[in-house]
């Protein structure tokens, strides 16, 4: 397991007088060692402070197996020059949170674009908890070089384990969100009620959130306008924001994808991720929940198909187009990449899998966000894809008409196409029925077939 070293020139602080509070967020990593992104005032101090606390809470929480020891990784902040995005992923990999503070909600200057880690330490959290709208809030993300020079050189350095699966989970959220569509928009009143009541449900099994005139309830039966929800208590992180919520938007995979691509038994439901977007004036907070409490995003495998079929040259060309944009629609870029629009989307999904872009559900497009971690080769980040490539290289794939036989160890697995879905006789497929991405045998068969065709 690798480690990440957060090297802040000084800790984040909240300071100021009764007339003005100043939040100084320390940064580390990214395009420079300690980049500076923003300096100005937050129009809604309470909202900003509570949202940052929510981001910090998600980062330090293990929603699955909470007793297990874990070290939280610092949130990351992205400046797209017209929006600040604070993101975190829970220690269990199952909950992703992002707070978007748009230009309308701040009064100040965006200094630079990029992505960096941000320090939300314990004293900082204490200070943030006491911020109210009574006094203006000065917000600084990263110190400018002049300020850094005047500091006494007290560097805050923390080393935290950085498992591949956590990095992969962070990237996989982009793919999960990219496959979602809006399901429901809820007004302020019912939204606050829903966010109060759902986390209190002690349902041990997942269910579907369905809508009632006063709010929502959990049901055991899926239907098109319902949203799958496992572990409602995971929504509890947004509790402190409920009084400020102006609306709630729900996103989930389209109904066509809900039965599970592999034809799960009729009495068993296909688990899915869901996104809960809390709407405020000039700001949004999105929680993306993994399909099950015990499932982190890292194992979802949604990116594998895109990665397997994306030309590395296309990927590199697309990466060259990134320069801090807050909204990227891949379709118009297809010409520049010399690919068709659907391939362009696939290329950007692959970039998402590499942690180079995020997906904004509200705008329906990608945004540039290079995760500030050392990136390994894609194959290393995605062991299933790497294994599949090894199988192809070892000549383990043979074809018999439409079916492929993939030898893995002493076992031969049969991969066949059934109604545009590849099926395999391996235990992974048997267990997940394609809900967690293709197995390595299916990927290997696809790669080998592509080689044959080319």
């Amino acid at each position: 397991m690798r480690e990440v070293t957060y090297r802040y020139v000084a800790p984040s602080t909240v300071s100021g007088t009764a007339d003005e509070r100043a939040v100084m967020l320390a940064t580390a990593g990214g395009r420079s060692a300690n980049p500076a992104f923003f300096s100005g005032f937050a129009e809604q101090p309470t909202l900003t402070a509570r949202a940052l606390l929510t981001i910090a809470e998600v980062a330090r929480t293990r929603y699955f197996d909470p007793g297990a020891a874990s070290r939280s990784r610092d949130p990351v902040v992205t400046s797209n020059m017209d929006v600040l995005r604070f993101e975190s992923l829970s220690a269990c990999n199952g909950v992703y949170a992002r707070f978007d503070l748009e230009a309308d909600a701040v009064d100040g200057t965006f200094l630079n674009w990029g992505t960096t880690n941000v320090d939300l330490n314990n004293p900082m959290r204490t200070a943030l908890a006491g911020i109210t709208d009574a006094e203006p809030l000065r917000l600084t993300v990263g110190r400018d070089e002049l300020t850094v020079d005047t500091l006494d050189g007290t560097v805050v350095e923390r080393r935290v384990p950085l498992p591949d699966r956590w990095v992969r989970g962070f990237a996989e959220v982009t793919v999960a969100a990219g496959a979602m569509m809006p399901i429901r928009a809820v007004a302020a009143g019912p939204a606050r009620r829903i966010l109060r009541e759902l986390p209190r449900l002690r349902a041990k099994r997942p269910g579907w959130v369905t809508w009632t005139p006063q709010g929502a309830r959990l049901t055991s039966t899926p239907h098109d306008t319902a949203v799958f929800l496992a572990g409602p208590q995971r929504l509890g992180s947004v509790g402190r924001l409920i009084p400020l919520v102006q609306g709630l938007r729900l996103y989930a995979p389209p109904p066509a994808h809900r039965a599970g691509v592999g034809g799960r038994a009729s009495s068993q439901r296909a688990a899915q991720p869901s996104a809960w977007e809390l709407v405020f004036d000039g700001a949004r907070l999105v929680l993306v929940l993994s399909p099950e409490v015990y499932r982190g995003f890292s194992g979802e495998g949604g990116i594998l198909t895109a990665l397997a079929h994306t030309d590395p040259d296309d990927l590199a060309a697309a990466a060259r187009l990134l320069h801090g944009q807050s909204m990227i629609d891949p379709a118009p870029l297809a010409d520049e990449l010399s690919v068709d629009p659907s391939t362009a989307w696939s290329v950007f999904h692959a970039l998402g899998g590499a942690g180079r872009v995020g997906f904004d559900l509200a705008s329906g497009g990608f945004f540039h966000r290079d995760l500030p971690f050392e990136r390994r080769a894609l194959d290393e980040l995605q062991p299933r894809l790497g294994d599949a490539r090894e199988l192809v290289a070892a000549g383990a794939v043979t074809f018999d008409g439409a079916s492929a036989s993939v030898r893995s160890g002493d076992t031969r697995y049969l991969v066949r196409r059934d109604a545009d879905v590849s099926r395999c006789t391996c235990p992974w497929f048997a267990k997940h029925r394609g809900e967690r991405g293709p197995c390595k045998h299916v990927i290997a068969a696809d790669l080998a077939r592509a080689e044959v065709h080319s």
């Binding site: 204490t126 009143g189 019912p190 041990k204 006063q214 068993q268 160890g409 076992t411 048997a430």
Partner: protein, 992 residues
Amino acid sequence: MSLDRRLVDAIVAEDPEQVRDLLTAATEKQRRAADDPLRDELQHVIPPRDPLPERRRTALLAILGTSTSKTLRAFHLARFGIPVPPAVAVLEARPAAIRSAMLKAATSDVLLRWLWPVAFDFIRRDQFTRPDTAEYAEGALGHVFGVDWRWPMDRSNPTDEQWIDGVRERLSDPDLADELFAAFRHEEPLVGLSTARRRPVEAALVRAAGDGAIQRSRLLDECLDGHLRDFRPSATRMFARLWDELAPTHDELVARQHRITRVGSAQDPGAQLLALTALGALLDGGETVDPAQASAVAAAALSGTTKKLATSALRFLDRLATIGPDPAVTAALSGVGHPRADVQEASLAFVERNLSRVSDPLTVRQDVLAWADAVEPQLRALLDDVTGIAATGNEPVGPDGDRREIARRVAALSAPQLADAGLHDIDPTVPTLPPPVTFDPWSPPVLSPQRATTRIDDPAELAEAVVAWMAGSVDGIDVERILDGLARLGAASAGTAAASAVRTQRERLRETSGTFADATPIVWLADAWLDRRPPQPLPFVRRRARWFGGRADVVGDLVKPRVPSNARRYWLGLTAYDGTRFPAHPAAFGAVRMWEVAHHLAEGQSRQLLATPTHRGGWIAPADLCHRLEEMQRRRLTPDRFDAVQALLRIAPGVADGLGDRLVAVGTDPARAAASILGHHARVRDEGLQRAARIRVDLGLPAASRRPGSQPHHAPQHALRWPDIADAGERRRDDPVGILLTALATPPDEIRWWHDANVLLAGADHTAMSRATTALPRFPDLYGAAVATTVAFDLGANRSSDADHVALATLIDPDVPLGPGAHAGLAIALTARNETLATVAADLTIAAIDDGRLDHVVLGELLATLVNEGVGLLSRPASRLSNVAEHSLLHADAVRRVWMTTLAALETLPRDLHAPLEGLLAAGTRCQRGVDDDGARSFLEQLATGNSKRASLARTLLELPTVWDDVAPELLAIAGRLTRAERWAAQLAGVT
């Protein structure tokens, strides 16, 4: 004498000073050499069960001097601590590297927490750097509050008073007091402290503050700061309790007013209550409070879910409104969206009362409107008063509710079709609520093409399905399809590439399942398929032996009147299964059928199974069964006995001409049994087949002549009368709840079913239960009864099994009739504590109301019976049924009727009576129907006197008007039944 021997002597003499002297005088080499022998000796001188606290403390000291930080943690004598000064001396004698490692471990390793005081000694002398970690803080708290505070049952523990004195004494050390306050800055240790109610932690701190051991002001500040650290409530709970025990004076509150206001905006309900109480006290004391900031505290409290907190907030706002009405009213708006109707009502009333005081009433009205969607229906009038805008009426019923549309749909159906849907005498021009729909399980088009199952014809698909079965991701019908596929294709496909994956998965299953009984039959099949190995006699289903106990249960009872005398021995694994005895459990019944298939696979024989369902739900089309029997006879194959029994239990109605004669002509016993089930006279020799055939007739399968939907047929509902219940109770006085539910679920002359239903679910997992529901498609009501009997034994337990969910979810299918057993299961599930089961119950209620299957009288009486018997709460079903009532006007009306029946049948006044009263009020308001049941009105009239909340609710209910010109619920009810009739008609058109 060696060092270890001398140490042992000193330990036995319980002399720590001597141990210290021995260790400090020795070289490190001698100390390390003594480590292993010393540990061995200690096993003899300190018996495991003998406390010997002083001896253990002395031994710990010796171990500290001889071991390393790694070996130290393996020694479990730490319960009584270690003498600190000698331990410090011993550690100082150790080499610096070992000492440092031990101190580091002492401040970070939970197993070495007992060494914390020694590390603290080094830290306070600046000989070791103080770590600012949660682990160190936890050690500090453990030391301050006594290392034994987690073990209250220990007889050597002091009394509370002695314990408090000990804490106070330790806190008189200022360095240790500083450590205490530093520990308060860590979340995890506080969680342990806040949840440790075994010791009066707060009382000890208050006593220490009172004696001046620690500063009271510092403690008060910490109580507030603790709430401002964004810790979770479980960590800060202690601070709220401590604040209460400290009982701050007026001056102390004044000095902290600003911080108290900040505390109030925290997310923690405890902090909010603290702030509200303190700010209220300041107001009472004549202090000036900033209305805007104080209102923010109240708004935060109203944004929670707790009624007590919300009520406190509204009381506080009442006082605040006199000095700052604008922020107070704005804060009260948060309460309009509260989950509880009474808080919503109080908040709206507050806004209405203070509307004249605010500077901009129009804006307030608009703000209230933003909450309108979240307001309970019974408060709409109040909402109208506040906003000045009349609420809209009922939501449009939609095209289904249109009378002309309904008349057209009625005209398009035949009389039998209407009768099957419970619409015999419907007059669309004068819509009235039709009675509950009752129908036999075969009345739906169970053999329609839409319900046909597919069979597996491809070896790759078969292999994939077998692997999926082994991975546990198949349901009951899948299992039957796989068995069928193996029986037909297994012999020829064992050597294919596809089977290779099964082989690997089989080995994994063997490794992971061990002796797990449920995996055994699958391994039988895999062995027989892949290696031609016959199934071995195995001692399986051991865990089921616990409940089996030699008694009869469902399928065993069905196929044979008596259980074999050696059945218990068989299930205990003492007698090998020999393929002839009858299984005694649906899951075991299924396993025995797998055993039969495995035998054929081992012999390389392929065959079509008789019992494979042709249609969902487990039904077999008679014509298909006839064809299978004929084919078997043509190939001169002998039908398997249990395959045949299962096939007979699954025969669906619907007979083609001449089918009986063809079956008789086949001549085998199973064929004759099938013929007899379908109405032909045929002599059956096998006892089990005879019994299966009789079961079909006993349970009411009509003779062959009837085609589904061809004539109106209404199964009689078993009357649920108290005498039957009482009679059942007489038979088993020791188990009143079980008997009660049995009686509710069971026709009086078949009382044995209660036990059968109970064991049906015992130990079954998702797949087994899902398969079991297809074993006897004739009697779906059994599964509801099964849920009732399994869950009812402990309604307060927050647990439920896969089997309960699957059984209850089976009843959601609109084509499964709901009999008494199903209603009992529903009532119990609605009353159960388990939220997941209750969710399925609410779904079932909604579905059953949709198409008219729910008998609100039966459900209402059941809920009342549970309360009358003292086993059920009304608040739980009230909460679930309020969700149901929100679904539509029809559902609101149905819930209203359920509650009216329940109230009329109540023999006691339960404490949570307000819950159904509120539910009835919300449902009645929503569907614009008052209380029109005489029994319920009589009950409410008795209740309506006095000033209690329930009396007030009763009076409101009695005055609730009915809008008779709005027949929306009735129209929706008819539309729901028509939808069923139309669906059946369409599906029957495809039945041949």
